[in-house]
């Protein structure tokens, strides 16, 4: 007999499969098209011009997005740190992580938890779905990147290495899990999904903007370390740096703390 967490996870994925497939197609398609854009710019010899046109302060102000267009690798990897892509991943994670709140709100939890289902299984279900969907999305993105590079770009092009793409995916997955864990903690406490999603979305936006400001404005740097986005540094990877596992660990630790909090809160609360 399958555990209730798995039964509920399969049920959740089945219910949201349409949205998941649509998002996977969009993010995968975007990644594939980016390789074509990169190849197009390469053929036109545009990369050198682009980087020379962007002064240092503008590069800082515009953040990673502007720098991405300075190189073939940057364009190819753009999807792993484009704000809309980050928002898509985090938004989906928040939506999944607040499912316990939705089930309390709709009273579906009354039907499931009136059976021999432990409350932690409901949270485990959410964690399983969260991790599974993010892995699938990242896999689709990586496959699309690889397919685009393999099929449609000149063989002698200096491509981003597999390790770089994998590291970018790890960073994106870590920041997504970070916010998913926080959303889970809030979603385990409140009675309405909108309260949880709205609250966490606003917090994520504020954290993103704080990090953005801190990149160009020194006074903001002191408090920007409280923003999880401070530990999301894809550009150093594109510049040839190594993945900073400490940054990944910080983001995962925040997500894990939220997840543990979610387990504890949901187990103790009145439904």
């Amino acid at each position: 007999m399958r555990s209730s967490a798995v039964v509920l996870a399969v049920h959740s994925v089945r219910r949201m499969r349409g949205v998941l497939i649509a998002i996977a197609v969009v993010v995968g398609g975007f990644q594939f098209l980016l390789t074509q854009v990169a190849a197009f710019l390469l053929r036109r010899g545009g990369f050198g011009l682009i980087s020379s046109f962007i002064p240092d302060f503008m590069q800082n102000l515009a953040g990673p997005s502007a720098l991405a267009f300075a190189s073939f690798e940057g364009v190819v990897a753009f999807g792993y740190f484009h704000p809309m892509m980050i928002a898509t991943h985090i938004g989906l994670a928040i939506s999944i992580a607040t499912e316990p709140a939705a089930e309390v709100e709709t009273r579906f939890a009354d039907l499931t938890l009136a059976r021999a289902v432990a409350r932690h299984e409901v949270v485990t279900r959410t964690v399983l779905v969260l991790v599974w969907t993010e892995l699938v999305l990242l896999l689709v993105m990586m496959l699309s990147t690889w397919t685009g590079l393999a099929c449609c770009t000149p063989a002698d092009t200096p491509r981003p290495g597999a390790a770089t793409i994998r590291s970018l995916a790890i960073l994106l997955g870590a920041i997504t899990f970070c916010w998913g864990g926080l959303a889970l903690a809030v979603g385990a406490r409140v009675r309405r999904r909108a309260t949880a999603t709205g609250g966490i979305a606003v917090a994520a936006l504020a954290a993103f903007l704080l990090d953005y400001l801190a990149r160009v404005w020194d006074p903001a740097k002191a408090i920007a370390r409280f923003s999880p986005f401070r530990y999301f540094e894809p550009m150093s990877l594109l510049a040839g740096g190594q993945l900073q596992w400490r940054d990944v660990a910080v983001m995962l630790a925040i997500g894990l703390a939220g997840t543990i909090g979610g387990y504890m809160i949901f187990s103790r609360r009145d439904l």
């Binding site: 049920h11 219910r15 709709t106 039907l111 499931t112 938890l113 021999a116 103790r268 009145d270």
Partner: protein
């Protein structure tokens, strides 16, 4: 001695400064159909949710088949079929998918033939359960809720307002299911506002008022509290007796008509009437409603058949 199906011991629940339940103690014996009554906000649903460990008590203890509802909640809930007052079904799921999902959760073994019989009894066709639940009427959702509660044939059924939204024919079908469950030795704990329904199906009732249990009694005993209404019509003027038989309460007396309420045996009243020129005699069986409305209205209890407000009471 058989352990009680449900035992509440000094159960209390506070939400901040609001007391939802105060010192509620009762026992439900196996095989009994127990009606849990009270006005809105009396604490019925809170009690039920404590039994299911959806809500944690702030005082006292609840157990089912001698298993603590909180510390051994999984074992407890494996023995329960629950119909919520407002079942929260997903509109995009079909009725069948909903039953499959709920039936596949731990602790439940669903016999598909039994489920099919239940659907048939409640007139939910295969085409109905194949439709998304957003297309269901209130009554259809209630029927599906009943099926999901009964489908695993659990030893204890906890039903919150089970016939809300059902048409009279389906109510009868539900009462039949209830009677069959009782015949199989299942225990039923149901909350209801519908007093005729409680009178029809329940063996005993408990009545909550403001979070306190103010009545716990067999239905028949409560009904007897109201007394039978006796109207005697005479063919000639009669004079009322100087002393009335014990248990006889006078509602109105005129030379040709007496309206009486008789608590207890009718014999002494009948003996008195046979000495009179009686033209007609009408005896009305009392209804539960007559007594319970007094409790609902916060009036002092006429007579408590079984003392309940603190401690236990068993039949």
């Amino acid at each position: 001695m058989t352990s009680p199906a449900i035992r509440l011991q000094h159960l209390g629940k506070r939400y901040g400064r609001v007391t939802a339940l105060r010192d509620v103690s009762l026992e439900v014996v196996p095989g009994e159909v127990f009606g849990f009554l009270g006005l809105n906000g009396a604490g019925k649903t809170t009690t039920i949710r404590i039994l299911l460990d959806l809500v944690r008590p702030t005082g006292g203890r609840a157990s089912i088949f001698d298993l603590d509802c909180q510390s051994r909640g999984l074992e407890v809930r494996a023995r329960i079929g629950y119909l919520p007052g407002e079942p929260g079904f997903y509109g995009d799921m079909t009725g069948e998918a909903t039953l499959d999902l709920l039936g596949s959760l731990a602790g439940q073994r669903v016999d598909r033939a039994r489920r099919a019989r239940l659907l048939d009894r409640l007139e939910l066709a295969a085409s109905d359960v194949g439709r998304p639940m957003r297309e269901y009427s209130t009554g259809m959702k209630r029927k599906l809720g009943i099926v999901q509660a009964f489908q695993a044939d659990p030893p204890l059924l906890v039903l919150d307002e089970p016939t809300e939204g059902l048409d009279p024919l389906m109510q009868d079908a539900f009462y039949d299911l209830l009677a069959e469950a009782r015949a199989r030795g299942r225990t039923v704990f149901m909350s209801s506002h519908v007093l005729p329904e409680v009178e029809r199906v329940c063996d005993r009732i408990g009545l909550l008022r403001g979070g306190e249990l103010v009545l716990l009694s067999p239905v028949q005993d409560v009904r007897n509290l109201a007394g039978r209404r006796v109207r005697a019509t005479f063919s000639a003027d009669v004079t009322p007796p100087a002393s009335w038989p014990d248990g006889c309460e006078i509602a109105s007396v005129s030379p040709r008509t007496w309206d009486l309420r008789v608590h207890g045996p009718l014999g002494p009243v009948v003996s008195l009437l046979t000495t009179m020129p009686i033209a007609d005699l009408d005896v009305q069986v009392p209804h539960l409603e007559e007594v319970l409305k007094k409790y609902y209205a916060n009036a002092p209890a006429p007579v408590s058949p079984t003392p309940v407000v603190s401690g236990f009471s068993r039949t």
